[in-house]
C-alpha cells in the first residue's frame, strides 16, 4: 500500500506492493437496520493514504478509496462480474471487438459546473494515456488504446489496436473515474492534490497525514444501476481520517470517535466482534493472494524439486492460522477464491508433507549438512536469498517471514532475509532478478491477473517492469493466457485460467500463503457501507443513525 513506483515503466511496480485493482463499482447490498436516514457525518479511518489523489496517475488502491466518492465511472461492475450502466446508459462492441461505442447519460454535471459529455470522456481517456500523466496503473489497463472519437455530444467511440476483453471491467474501476475536463488542464501535481468529478460527494480538502473531507453533492441523480438507491447520498459529510497506528485506529473505533475503520488488526478481530456495539465486515479480496514467488530462472529454485520441497516442507497453513487468528485463510492457488476463474482444484493439489520435502531435497542432491544444520551440496549451503522490503510490509508479514525462516531451518534450508533500505533498492534487485524469493499480494478482480503473474511477457528486465516475479516462462501457459484475452465468454475464460493455475501449482512456481481479507470494523450506528469488487468500502449508500 505504501507504494511509490520507481520507474516510468509500462507495468508499474506499485501493483506489486499495493492492492491495486480492476473491478467495478459498489456492489449492491440490501439496506439493513431500518429505513435509511439522511444527514450527519460519517467518519471512516484508514491506515494509509495516497501519495497522489489523481487515480489516472496513482496506482494505489487507497487512491480509489479516497476518490471513489467524488468520481463516477462510465460503467459499474458487481461482485458477480456483471457490468451495469452508470454514466454510460448503454454501449455496443464492434464485431472485431476493437471498438466500443458508448451512449452517455444526459444532464450530468461535474461539481465545478462543467457538463459531462462525449468530449469529457475523450479528454479523460486521452489524459490517462498521455505520457505527461505518467500513469502508473490506469494506462496499462488500456494498453491497446488508440484513441476516441466524439460522435455527438452524448456518443463516444473508443478504439483499440486489438481485441481487448478486460476493457469494460477496467473502465468500471476508480482508476477510470471521470474528472472534469476543466480540471484536467491543470498541471499533474495540482491534480494530485485536488480532483473534481461528478460523484455523490464533493471533496472539500485533503490534508496529507490527516485525511480528506467531503460534502454531499446536491442534485446528484446518476447513481450506477446496481446501487441500492438513487439520488443524493445519505450522509451530509464524509470524513476519511488517516490513522496509521493500528492500536490508535482500533481505539478510535472502540471509543466511538469514528464510525468505521479499515484494517482491523487480525489479532483484534475477536475483540471487536465481542463488542455489542461493533461489527467486523469481512470482504475477501480478489486477485493475487499473498504469495511467495521463487525465482524459477536462476539460483536454487530453478530446480522444481527444491521449489516443491520448500512449498510442501513448510506448514504455511498452521503458521497463517496461528498468526492471523483465522482472520485470513491459508491459500492454495495463486489467486483468491473470489477471483473470476478461481480453480478449486488447487485446494487438493498439494499439501504440507515435510517427509516428502526431505526426500525431494535429497533427490536434488542437497544431502550434506553443515555445522548449523543446513543442507549443502558440493560444500555450498542451501541458501534462499530474500529481499524483504519491510516498510511496505503489512499485516505483520515480517513476523510471518520470521516464522517461515524458522520453519525452513527445520528442513535444512537457510532463508537469508535482507532488508533493502529503500524501495528503489528493492526494485533494482527485483528487475534484475537478483533474488531467490520475493513476496507480494496483488488485487485485481479479473482472472486476467494471472497474465500479469505468469505470462513470460510480464517478466521484469532492467528497463521493463513486470509482475511475473517467479520469472516463469512456459509456452503453454502463455498460450492459454492469450486465448483468454480474445474471448468474452466467461465460461471459456474460467476454463483457461484453471489450466494455468493447475500448471503453475504443479510446477511449484508459486508458494501461496494466505488469502487477504479486507477487515472492516464498524459501529452498529452505521449502515449500508458497500464494497467495490476489489474489496474496498464505498459510502454512497451508507448512513449513520445519530445519537
Amino acid at each position: 500500500m505504501h507504494n511509490r513506483s520507481p520507474l516510468g515503466l509500462v507495468i508499474p511496480v506499485a501493483g506489486l506492493l499495493a492492492l491495486s485493482a480492476c473491478g467495478g463499482t459498489q456492489a449492491a447490498r440490501a439496506p439493513q437496520g431500518g429505513a435509511p436516514v439522511k444527514g450527519g457525518t460519517l467518519t471512516f479511518a484508514v491506515n494509509t493514504e495516497p501519495t497522489c489523489l489523481d487515480p489516472h496517475q496513482s496506482p494505489q488502491d487507497v487512491t480509489g478509496l479516497f476518490t471513489r466518492p467524488a468520481l463516477d465511472s462510465l460503467v459499474a461492475l458487481d461482485a458477480k462480474g456483471t457490468i451495469h450502466p452508470w454514466l454510460a446508459t448503454s454501449w455496443k462492441v464492434s464485431g472485431d471487438q476493437k471498438s466500443y461505442t458508448f451512449t452517455l447519460r444526459q444532464g450530468v454535471k461535474f461539481s465545478d459546473g462543467t457538463p459531462f459529455d462525449a468530449a469529457a470522456v475523450k479528454a479523460n481517456l486521452d489524459h490517462i494515456v498521455a505520457p505527461a500523466t505518467k500513469s502508473q496503473l490506469a494506462a496499462s489497463y488500456i494498453e491497446p488504446y488508440t484513441g476516441s472519437d466524439v460522435i455527438d455530444d452524448h456518443t463516444v467511440r473508443v478504439n483499440f489496436s486489438r481485441p481487448y476483453s478486460p476493457f469494460l471491467s477496467a473502465l468500471a474501476t476508480a482508476y477510470f473515474g471521470m474528472e472534469s475536463p476543466a480540471s484536467l488542464k491543470q498541471p499533474q501535481d495540482a491534480l494530485c492534490k485536488q480532483v473534481v468529478g461528478s460523484g455523490p460527494f464533493v471533496i472539500d480538502a485533503w490534508t496529507p497525514k490527516q485525511g480528506i473531507t467531503f460534502h454531499r453533492n446536491r442534485g446528484y441523480n446518476w447513481a450506477p444501476a446496481n446501487a441500492a438507491h438513487n439520488g443524493e447520498a445519505y450522509a451530509d459529510k464524509l470524513v476519511i481520517k488517516v490513522i496509521t497506528e493500528n492500536s490508535v485506529r482500533l481505539g478510535a473505533l472502540t471509543s466511538g470517535q469514528v464510525d468505521a475503520i479499515a484494517s482491523v488488526p487480525p489479532v483484534n478481530v475477536r475483540q471487536v466482534k465481542a463488542d455489542p456495539g461493533l461489527a467486523v465486515d469481512v470482504r475477501q479480496a480478489p486477485g493475487g493472494n499473498y504469495n511467495y514467488y521463487p525465482n524459477t530462472a536462476s539460483g536454487v529454485f530453478t530446480d522444481r524439486r527444491v521449489r516443491q520441497a520448500f512449498r510442501d516442507g513448510i506448514d504455511f497453513a498452521t503458521i497463517v492460522k496461528n498468526l492471523y487468528f483465522g482472520a485470513y485463510q491459508p491459500a492454495s492457488s495463486p489467486v483468491s477464491p473470489s477471483t473470476t476463474g478461481y480453480d478449486k482444484g488447487t485446494e487438493t493439489q498439494w499439501r504440507y508433507d515435510p517427509a516428502e520435502a526431505g526426500r525431494l531435497l535429497d533427490e536434488a542432491g542437497w544431502t550434506g549438512r553443515d555445522s548449523e544444520g543446513y543442507r549443502t551440496k558440493d560444500g555450498r549451503r542451501l541458501t534462499v536469498r530474500w529481499p524483504f522490503y519491510k516498510a511496505a510490509a503489512r499485516e505483520n508479514r515480517d513476523t510471518l517471514t520470521e516464522q517461515v525462516q524458522a520453519e525452513a531451518k527445520k528442513i535444512g534450508v537457510d532463508v537469508d532475509v535482507t532488508n533493502p533500505p529503500s524501495i528503489g533498492d528493492f526494485v533494482t534487485a527485483f528487475t534484475k532478478g537478483d533474488y531467490d524469493l520475493v513476496d507480494f499480494s496483488w488485487q485485481r478482480a479479473d482472472g486476467d491477473a494471472l497474465r500479469n503473474l505468469f505470462s513470460s511477457a510480464s517478466i521484469s528486465t532492467p528497463t521493463r517492469f513486470g509482475q511475473n516475479a517467479a520469472r516463469y516462462s512456459d509456452k503453454e501457459v502463455d498460450g492459454w493466457l492469450s486465448d483468454a484475452l480474445d474471448t468474452t465468454d466467461l465460461g471459456r475464460r474460467a476454463e483457461l485460467y484453471a489450466k494455468v493455475q493447475h500448471k503453475v501449482t504443479d510446477e511449484a512456481a508459486v508458494f501461496p500463503v494466505y488469502v487477504f481479507n479486507y477487515l472492516l470494523g464498524e459501529s452498529k450506528r452505521v449502515h449500508g457501507i458497500g464494497w467495490e469488487p476489489q474489496a474496498y468500502p464505498t459510502f454512497y449508500d451508507a448512513w449513520v443513525v445519530q445519537g
Binding site: R4, T51, T207, P208, T244
Partner: protein, 308 residues
C-alpha cells in the same frame, strides 16, 4: 569582557551568529545532498518517477551540469529566495509540504512547552529546599521522567487514559501527546529550576527579603524564581531539539499529522528535498527561538543591559 556592549550590540552580534548558523545549515543540507550515494538528480527525485523533461528541469534548476561551487551558490541563492525545492514524491513544493504540516507540530510543541513550564515552575517552587523526603520523591520521579523513552510513555498513556479509562480522545486530542512530549522536558526543567532556586535561596538577598518580613512563598516567587529562570535560557537549544525531535516519535505513536511524520516518511522514501527542507526550517526555528530567548534574558537580567 573587554569591549562595552550595548543591548543593540548584543542583538546585532546574535543576529550575525544566527545568519552564520543558517548559512551553515544550508551548507549542511547541500553537503548531505552531495554525500548521498548516487547521481544528485536521482537523489533529488528519490523513489518517485519523473519524465526526462522534469529531470532536465531539475538539472537546470540546481545547475547540476555546472561545477560544484556554482551548484552551491545556485542552491544558496534559491534558499535565500525562500525556495526550498520541490518534492517529486509529494507532488508539491517542499515549502507547501512543510507549511501544511508545521501547524500541528507547532501546536503540539507549544502545548507541551506550556505544560512543561507550568508544571516545572510549580513543582520546583514548591519543592526547593523542602524536607528531604519531598525532594527525594520528586528527584526520583524526575529521574524516571528522563529515563522513560517517550514512545513507551506514549503507548502507556494512550492505553491507560484513552483505551482503558476513556478519559481522553484516542485521536485528534492534544492533551496526551503533549504530556508524552512534555515528560522529559518537565523532568529536566524541574531539576534545573530547583537547582537554581536552591542556589538563589541561599543568597544573602533572600535573607534580606525575609528579614523585611516577606513570607516564604513570596520570597520564592518574587525573588528566587527570576534567578532560577536564568540558567534555563541556556537550555533553549536542547529544548527546541527535544520538542521537535520528540515530535517525530510522539506524532508516530499518536498517529498525529505533523513535521515528524512528514520527515519520517521522507526518510523512508528517500525524499531528500523534504528532509533538507525540514532541516533548514528547524534550524531557522532554532535561531528564532534563540533570539527571542536572548531578548528575554536581557529583560530578566538587568546586569546584561549595561554590564561592561
Amino acid at each position: 569582557m573587554t569591549a562595552r556592549r550595548t543591548v543593540a550590540g548584543r542583538i546585532a552580534a546574535r543576529l550575525g551568529t544566527s545568519l552564520l548558523v543558517l548559512w551553515g545549515a544550508v551548507t549542511v543540507a547541500f553537503a548531505a545532498l552531495h554525500l548521498t550515494p548516487g547521481d544528485v538528480a536521482d537523489v533529488l527525485i528519490g523513489d518517485s518517477t519523473v519524465t526526462p523533461e522534469v529531470r532536465a528541469q531539475i538539472v537546470r534548476e540546481y545547475g547540476l551540469d555546472r561545477p560544484v561551487p556554482v551548484q552551491y551558490l545556485t542552491y544558496l541563492g534559491r534558499v535565500l529566495h525562500g525556495d526550498l525545492g520541490r518534492s517529486y514524491q509529494l507532488h508539491e513544493s517542499v515549502g507547501e509540504a512543510i507549511g501544511s504540516q508545521i501547524g500541528p507540530s507547532i501546536q503540539l510543541a507549544l502545548t507541551a512547552f506550556a505544560l512543561a513550564a507550568t508544571v516545572s515552575v510549580t513543582v520546583a517552587t514548591l519543592t526547593a529546599k523542602r524536607r528531604r523526603w519531598v525532594r527525594g520523591l520528586f528527584s526520583g520521579l524526575e529521574l524516571v521522567g528522563v529515563s522513560v523513552p517517550s514512545f513507551w510513555a506514549g503507548i502507556l498513556l494512550l492505553t491507560l487514559f484513552s483505551f482503558t479509562l476513556g478519559l481522553f480522545p484516542v485521536t485528534g486530542g492534544l492533551a496526551l501527546p503533549a504530556v508524552a512530549l512534555a515528560v522529559p522536558v518537565i523532568a529536566v526543567l524541574t531539576q534545573v529550576l530547583r537547582e537554581g532556586l536552591e542556589i538563589a535561596l541561599d543568597e544573602p538577598f533572600v535573607l534580606t527579603a525575609r528579614s523585611r518580613g516577606m513570607g516564604d512563598l513570596a520570597v520564592r516567587v518574587r525573588h528566587a524564581l527570576r534567578h532560577a529562570l536564568l540558567p534555563t535560557v541556556t537550555l533553549a537549544g536542547w529544548l527546541v531539539g527535544v520538542l521537535f525531535g520528540g515530535a517525530v516519535i510522539v506524532e508516530q505513536v499518536f498517529s498525529r499529522p505533523g513535521i515528524g511524520r512528514l520527515t519520517l516518511a521522507a526518510v523512508a522514501g528517500k525524499d531528500l528535498p523534504v528532509v533538507m527542507g525540514v532541516v533548514l526550517v528547524s534550524a531557522a526555528l532554532y535561531v528564532v527561538v534563540n533570539i527571542l530567548l536572548d531578548v528575554l534574558y536581557v529583560v530578566i537580567d538587568p546586569r546584561l543591559r549595561s554590564a561592561s
